[in-house]
C-alpha cells in the first residue's frame, strides 16, 4: 500500500492536506487496498460494537452501517458489497441469536433481513456518492488538463502541486520536474525573481494578480506571458494559489513589429517630406544660380578677348542681375507660402502632448534600453498653439536625446522630460545623459543643415526653434546639470498669449 500522506506531513500546512486530498482522489487504489479497507472498517465496527454491547445492545447497527458506507466510499461498489457480506456474517455470528453460530432463528429473520437491506443501501449510497464525486473531479481534471492556457497550482512554500498539459507544452517541464524544486527557480528568469517574490507575497495576502511578464522555458529561452494568479482559500486562509499563463510571445512580437513599422513610417514620411521640400527648393534656386554662373563665365570670357567685348559682357552682366533677382524672388515666394498658411492656434495641454510623444517613442526607448522619466507638473495652464507642430518639436528634441545616448553604456541611458510653470510661461525640459553639448558646435547647432549625425539633414533644431518662436516662446540648449545635454523651451500660457 502506498503511503497516502506526503513526506513532509510533519508541517501542518493546509496545502499539505490539499495535496493529500488530491492524491487520495487520483490514485487508483489496488484491490488489496480496497478489500483491506473493508476488513479494517468492519473489524473496527465489530470492536466498537462489542465494547458498547452491554450499554447499547443494538448499537452495532450504527457501527456496521457506517463501516459499510465508508468502505463503499473508499473502496467502491465491490469492496462495499464485500463489507456487506462480511458484516452480515459477523452480525449473524455475534449479535443475532443464536449467538456464535451462523444460523438465524426464524423470528429474528425480519430483523436480520432489514439490517441486510439497510447495509446494501448504505453501501450503494457510499459508492454512488464516491463515483459522483469522482465524475465531478474527472470533469474538473479534464477541464484542468485541456485548458489551452498553462495552469500551475503552487503552495505557499512555492512547491508545485499540479500543472496541466499546456504548462508542459509551453515551459517544457513535467509535474515531476516541477515538483522537485521551487517554481520560481525553474520558470522565473533571474532578473524577475524579486518581482515574482513580491507577487507571491500579495497572493499570500489574498490578492489577485494580472500581469504581463517574462518567464523562462526549460531550454532557457524567454517566453512572454500574460499571468493571472489567484489564491485558493480554505477556512478563510490562503493555502495555495493558481497561476494561469498565456503565451503572448507571438502577439507581443506582432505588436512590436506593428509599432516599429508605424514609427518607421512616421519617420520616413517626415524625412520624405523634408527631402521633397529640399529637392524642390534646390531645383528652384539652382536654376537661376546656374544661369548666373554661366553668364558670369561668359562675361569673363568676353572681357578676356582682345579687344574686350564690352557690349557682350554687359549683356551677360544684365542677365546676372536679372537671375539674381529671380533667385531672391523664389526665396521670397517660399517664405510667403509658409506664412500664407497660418496654423490654427488652439488651447493645448502640453503634458498631453508630451505623453503622446513618449508613447510614440516607447518602442525606440525600449529598444535602446533607455529609462524614461516624465516629471510633469500638475494642473498646468493651457498653451495656445498647433498640436502637430508642438508634437514635432518635442518629438524632435526627444529623438535627438535618444541619438545622443547611443554611444554610452546601456545602464547610464536616462531620458528625463519635465514640464513646469515659470510665472506666465510654461517650460519644457528634455534632458539626456549623453556626452553633452560639444562647445565647438554650440553656436552652430541651431543652424540649418548643421548636423553631427551621419543620417541627419540638419533641419530638426532649426525648424523646432522657428516653430517655438512662432508660438511666442524660446528654445535653447544648456549643458545638463550632471551630464548630457538639456534642451529647453518656453511657451507663453494661453491667457497671456491671447
Amino acid at each position: 500500500m502506498r503511503s497516502l500522506l506526503p513526506k513532509d506531513s510533519a508541517l501542518p500546512t493546509e496545502a499539505g492536506l490539499l495535496r493529500y486530498d488530491q492524491r487520495l482522489m487520483r490514485i487508483p487504489h489496488s484491490a488489496t487496498f480496497r478489500y483491506g479497507i473493508a476488513v479494517l472498517f468492519v473489524g473496527a465496527a465489530l470492536g466498537l460494537s462489542l465494547v458498547i454491547r452491554a450499554a447499547l445492545p443494538d448499537g452495532f447497527l450504527i457501527f456496521f452501517l457506517s463501516a459499510v458506507m465508508l468502505t463503499g466510499w473508499f473502496g467502491r461498489t465491490g469492496a462495499g458489497l464485500f463489507a456487506v457480506i462480511l458484516s452480515m456474517l459477523i452480525v449473524d455470528y455475534y449479535f443475532i441469536p443464536p449467538y456464535r453460530a451462523f444460523v438465524v432463528e426464524l423470528d429474528e429473520l425480519p430483523y436480520f433481513l432489514s439490517f441486510l437491506f439497510s447495509a446494501v443501501v448504505t453501501s450503494w449510497l457510499g459508492s454512488a456518492r464516491r463515483s459522483a464525486e469522482e465524475k465531478q473531479t474527472a470533469h474538473l481534471d479534464e477541464l484542468f488538463e485541456q485548458t489551452p492556457e498553462a495552469i500551475m497550482l503552487v503552495d505557499l512554500r512555492d512547491r508545485v502541486l499540479r500543472v496541466n498539459k499546456e504548462f508542459t507544452h509551453i515551459f517544457g517541464y513535467t509535474l515531476e520536474e516541477m515538483s522537485k524544486r521551487r517554481s520560481t527557480e525553474l520558470i522565473v528568469p533571474a532578473q524577475f525573481r524579486a518581482e515574482a517574490a513580491s507577487a507571491r507575497e500579495r497572493l499570500a495576502n489574498g490578492q489577485n494578480l494580472n500581469v504581463e511578464t517574462v518567464r523562462a522555458r526549460k531550454d532557457g529561452s524567454p517566453v512572454i506571458v500574460s499571468e493571472v494568479a489567484f489564491p485558493v482559500v480554505a477556512n478563510g486562509k490562503v493555502i495555495a494559489y493558481y497561476v494561469i499563463f498565456r503565451d503572448i510571445t507571438e502577439t507581443k512580437r506582432a505588436q512590436e513589429e506593428l509599432q516599429k513599422a508605424q514609427s518607421e513610417l512616421a519617420h520616413l514620411s517626415r524625412i520624405t517630406t523634408m527631402g521633397e521640400l529640399a529637392a524642390s527648393i534646390a531645383h528652384e534656386i539652382n536654376q537661376p544660380i546656374g544661369a548666373i554662373v554661366t553668364n558670369g563665365n561668359a562675361a569673363v570670357r568676353w572681357l578676356a578677348q582682345q579687344p574686350p567685348q564690352l557690349e557682350e559682357a554687359g549683356e551677360a552682366l544684365e542677365c546676372i542681375v536679372r537671375d539674381a533677382n529671380r533667385a531672391a524672388d523664389v526665396i521670397g515666394r517660399i517664405r510667403s507660402l509658409l506664412k500664407k498658411n497660418p496654423t490654427p492656434m488652439v488651447h493645448l495641454d502640453i503634458n498631453e502632448i508630451i505623453r503622446e510623444v513618449l508613447l510614440l517613442t516607447a518602442y525606440e526607448t525600449n529598444r535602446r534600453h533607455i529609462t524614461v522619466t516624465a516629471e510633469l507638473a500638475n494642473q498646468l495652464p493651457a498653451v495656445l498653439g498647433d498640436r502637430v507642430q508642438l508634437q514635432q518639436v518635442i518629438l524632435n528634441l526627444t529623438m535627438n536625446s535618444l541619438d545622443a545616448m547611443s554611444t554610452i553604456t546601456k545602464q547610464d541611458r536616462h531620458l528625463r522630460i519635465s514640464s513646469s510653470q515659470l510665472s506666465d510661461r510654461i517650460m519644457v525640459v528634455v534632458d539626456d545623459s549623453g556626452l553633452g553639448l560639444d562647445p565647438q558646435y554650440s553656436s552652430s547647432m541651431f543652424d540649418a543643415f548643421f548636423t553631427t549625425k551621419d543620417d541627419g539633414i540638419g533641419m530638426g533644431l532649426t525648424i523646432s526653434r522657428s516653430i517655438i518662436e512662432a508660438h511666442g516662446g524660446r528654445l535653447w540648449a544648456e549643458q545638463g546639470s550632471r551630464k548630457g545635454a538639456s534642451l529647453r523651451f518656453t511657451l507663453p500660457i494661453a491667457s497671456v498669449a491671447e
Partner: protein, 208 residues
Amino acid sequence: MKASENCVFVVEDDPSMRNALKNLLRSVGLEAQLFASAQEFLDADRPDLPSCLILDVRLPGLSGLDLQRELSAANIHIPIIFITAHGDIPMSVRAMKAGAVEFLTKPFRDQDLLDAIHQSLVQDRVRLQKQGEVRELQKRFDSLTSRERELLPLVVSGRSNKEIAAEIGTSEITVKVHRGHLMRKMQASSFADLLRMASDLKIPYTKV
C-alpha cells in the same frame, strides 16, 4: 572649332539658363540652337554636321532621359551632355549607361561644359566621317552587278578563283574578269583594301 562646321543644340526649359548657355557658347565662338522642349528638338531639322546636345534632365513633357531613349531608338547617335539643377546618383548612372558624354549639375564649371562639348564634337566628327565613308562604299556596292555582289563574300573569304568558279558553276577565266570589275568598281587598290571595305559594309564571310 568654327561655328559653321559644328552645331550645338541646347534643350532647356528655363529661359534664362537657355540664354546664359547661348552667351557662354558665343563667347567661345560656338553657335547654339536653342529649344525649350524635347519635342521642339525632335521636330527641328538637324544639319548633317558634327553636333552635340546639351540636355536638361527635367523638362516639361518628354524628360531629358526620355529624349535620350527616343533618339537612341530612332538610331540618332548625337552625343549628349546632361545638365540638371537637382541630379541624383541613380539618375546620372542611368544617363551615363545610356551613353551620355557627361552629366553636369547646375551650377557647373564652364570649363567642364566646354570640355564636354569639345569631346562630343570630336567624337561626332569621327562618327560622321565614318558614316560618310560607309555611305560612299554603299554607293559603290550598289553599282555592282548581281554576279559581282555574289562574288564579293567569296573573294573576301580568301578563296581562290578556281574554288569560286567551282562554287558558282562557271569558268576560272570568267571569275577573273568579274573579280577585276569588282576591284575597279569598288575602287579597291588591293585585296586588303577590299577586305576593309567589306568589313565596313558588314559583308559576311563564308567559311571555307
